[in-house]
Symmetry: C2
């Protein structure tokens, strides 16, 4: 091992100044990330060994290792076996910060009105935001939004966290405390952007846990992630605009964009995330909707290179990226990846967050983190739609965060999800006819296993349902007009967090029996 005097000449840590009163590894991580992004640390630069850098900076080696781990997890650096650590090869490096365009347009469009694109008509949902007209009704019978499964949570429901572990007693006490002495002022009409204290808590949480440099003023509270997505659709899309969505992907997001009049373009997802080169070929896309932390439903984590490519697309085309970080809290190996919103330097990313996957879905509490120039428009539209969210849910969540319950609960939920994931992985039957191997599950609350054909997928799901086990078909996550061969469409999508370990084990036993494995 080299000591401080033999530091590689290609890397000079002299400019890195650390404030000893704050987290040193985070500061180092940020300083190094910034240098990669602005080009001061070029691709291929060899980084000093952790011990050497620690000595050079006068900090503990542990701090350096943690910073390197995070940079590694995010793809900024890479290890070469037997040869140390290097700045990764990035396809795109962000261009220097440009001013946000503030040019004022008339806002008028001369295109067709239609919220009724072909893609949208194919979706199993009301085909237009304007379905009722002059006493006639359009395809209400045939088309309907798939209703989420009801009944008590059971294995392997998708989209539901381990909310049996939620500290309901604490929540009950905080609720009662709020209502016993309410501030009368809070009970009148409030700020459509949401409770000021909660907005501050969320911004602080995102700064510390996600590396997002956001302020409370950028936060708009929503009624869950769905309202966040829906507001983006209503405010970013003109009827007829192209919107890129992941295919397979989160269908309810597609519905929200289609209701706003978007022409949906399903874009393939590969092992790095959404295929940006395919997206660049779609000339007219205004918006890309993505789930980079843990693609829904395939589970792919978007690579750093792909993240930068997507950001470059948005800058080049003046497009918008809607980043749905629905389960970003759940990362099992390494720290959570920095979201696109943390890498965005041009104000092109609208970040959708939710408490539904940390607390429980029926809380209907989420938030948007917006480029500052968009906050007013979103607040105003929200005021016209719903005015604002119910007061106590916001105030109680703010207190829950301020008192430290939230951070403790996230850790508890992450441990629980990991343990339940392990129970599923350990007990999953091998050699099920027509079913591929288990993926590596590094994040999230569900996993997807490939199946040879859609008919086999449906058979397995029906058999599972016959013994009370819920499994979603990957085939239901594709846009209807997708030109994807049958064998790539099929799979089993399974949530592993909804029920405790014994229930998972019992469900697996029933599956083994009914599947004959």
């Amino acid at each position: 091992m080299s000591d401080a005097s033999t530091l590689s000449l290609s890397f000079n840590p002299a400019g890195i100044e650390l404030d000893r009163r704050q987290g040193l590894s985070r500061q180092l991580y940020q300083a190094l990330r910034l240098r990669v992004l602005d080009g001061r640390l070029a691709s291929g630069t060899r980084l000093p060994a952790s011990r050497d850098l620690a000595a050079a900076l006068g900090i503990s080696r542990n701090s350096v290792v943690r910073a390197y781990d995070q940079l590694y997890a995010e793809g900024f650096i890479e290890g070469r076996v037997g040869d140390g650590t290097y700045v990764a090869q990035l396809a795109q490096v962000l261009t220097p910060e440009k001013k946000l365009s503030t040019k004022v347009s008339t806002g008028f469009s001369t295109g067709l009105p239609t919220a009724l694109s072909t893609n949208w008509l194919d979706l199993p949902v009301v085909p237009s935001s304007k379905v009722i007209h002059s006493g006639t009704f359009t395809r209400l019978e045939k088309n309907h939004l798939p209703t989420p499964p009801s009944g008590p949570p059971r294995a392997f429901r998708v989209g539901v966290p381990a909310f049996d572990l939620f500290p309901f007693e604490v929540w009950a006490k905080l609720n009662a405390a709020f209502w016993r002495k309410p501030d009368l002022q809070q009970l009148c009409y409030g700020d459509p952007a949401g409770d000021a204290r909660l907005r501050g808590m969320i911004a602080a949480y995102l700064r510390s846990s996600r590396g997002m440099q956001c302020t409370a003023e950028q936060i708009v509270i929503t009624s869950g992630a769905q309202q966040g997505i829906s507001l983006c659709a209503q405010l970013l899309v003109e009827p007829g605009d192209g919107v890129a969505i992941e295919n397979p992907g989160y269908r309810a997001a597609g519905h929200a964009f289609a209701v706003a009049g978007a022409r949906l373009h399903g874009v393939a997802v590969d092992s790095d995330g959404i295929d940006c080169s395919a997206m660049a070929g779609l000339g007219d896309c205004r918006v890309a909707y993505v789930t980079p932390s843990h693609q829904y439903p395939t589970g792919v984590v978007m690579s750093l290179a792909r993240r930068l490519e997507l950001l470059a697309w948005a800058e080049r085309t003046q497009g918008w990226i809607v980043e749905d970080d629905y389960d970003g809290e759940y990362r099992y190996t390494g720290a959570p990846l920095a979201p696109l919103a943390a890498l965005d330097r041009q104000g092109r990313v609208l970040y959708v967050g939710t408490f539904g996957k940390v607390a429980f879905p029926a809380l209907r509490l989420g938030y948007l983190v917006l480029p500052p120039a968009l906050v007013q428009a979103f607040s105003q539209r929200r005021a016209v739609d719903v005015r604002h969210s119910e007061v106590s849910t916001q105030a109680v969540m703010a207190e829950f965060m301020a008192a430290g319950h939230f951070q403790r609960h996230i850790r508890r939920m992450r441990r629980a999800a990991l343990s339940r994931r392990n129970t599923l992985l350990a007990g999953w039957p091998m050699n099920i006819d027509g079913v591929g191997s288990l993926p590596n599950v590094a994040a999230g609350l569900h996993l997807t296993v490939p199946v040879d054909t859609v008919s086999r997928e449906q058979e397995l799901i029906a058999e599972a349902a016959s013994v009370g086990v819920e499994i979603n078909g990957l085939s239901s996550y594709w846009l209807p007009d997708s030109t994807i061969s049958d064998d790539r469409r099929a799979g089993l999508v399974m949530g592993f967090a909804a029920v405790p370990e014994p229930a998972i084990t019992a469900a697996l036993a029933r599956l083994r029996k009914v599947w004959g494995v």
Copy 2:
């Protein structure tokens, strides 16, 4: 007085059959109302004296008097001094029930796209639902939705009930009870139409207190009245459609329709309510938005004749009526009038209700009562917009209603509002320069006093503000392009329920001083 043997031949009670196990006066009221509406009881028919009818039906005279009182309050019957009681002269009698048109249209429109009508551009709000496009921002600075007044409630804030009287201790207990033992099933994704038990409670409440023959299946829970109005706008209006709104009227409703692309037609309000003959002249109106119980802000109660005229318009044109019954619980003389939704026999009325004026605005809990054929489309759109409302607010309100707290609280709130109204009326300074006389305040939570000119109105409001008294200017409730002479535009709109009587008296003393009266 005549006895049963001298009943007028023009009225035969023989067909009226009452079920003795249920409320007799309500059954009699409904039987008589039905006969007026279907023409069996013609205008001008003399009704028997209450004592005679009671004898003929074998029920108490009290039951007959209550039924007559309600019919009188609703304008179905009228008294002639010294000459008994007659069926009123109604401009329009509803035609026999027709089947709802279920013709299927393509839903396509070939008109202009524009959500950007001239009217809408004049509104002080974001001029389109699609304001952000390709990185450019449209008039965000100049136009903004007026924010509701903030700070603790004070005299004479409009739109706020006596929520200092809300039983917060009860609400706190019910909340804590819900959260201590939550039904895990309720914490997953729920029905977008809302909590089933709450929907049932609301339907029962409307049947008993409003004479609406609705079922739980017709109820869709909303995030306050605003979401109810906004959903109506999104689902009933195609861009370019005409929408009739009361002028002066509730501006936030106008904004919701404008965001959906409506061309707003402001229609005058006279002493019977919205001017239906003026409305009929607007050939292309698809929707009429009205506040019949207590017009906002003038306080006019829509007469029965006008209600029937409006319903006839909707049937004739296959138009929709959005009935916003925002403060229908507050009626001080006689029982509340039957809403349009209770008179509607063709499924043309969408009823907007809210808990905001009985509990408090920040609860953000309201509901729609929809013609059965529309329920699915509204639920689906709500699912795309927000999925559904927060679980505990709905469950706790259902329990609050089931345990009888709600009915008790309404009575308490009505008494409080009446007392606060009386305090304002009794202490209001006479002979304020340029200010007209106080109106008769039979309903609601606010009153409007005419002022000679807008400049005088603004002067009085500024002086009131200087001594901490909030008064709204009637001039701010008009559509911007209204061709109304200055002297009809001006007035003082004052809420009388927001603060207790001593605060009202103190505010009046300050007004007397600053206004020099």
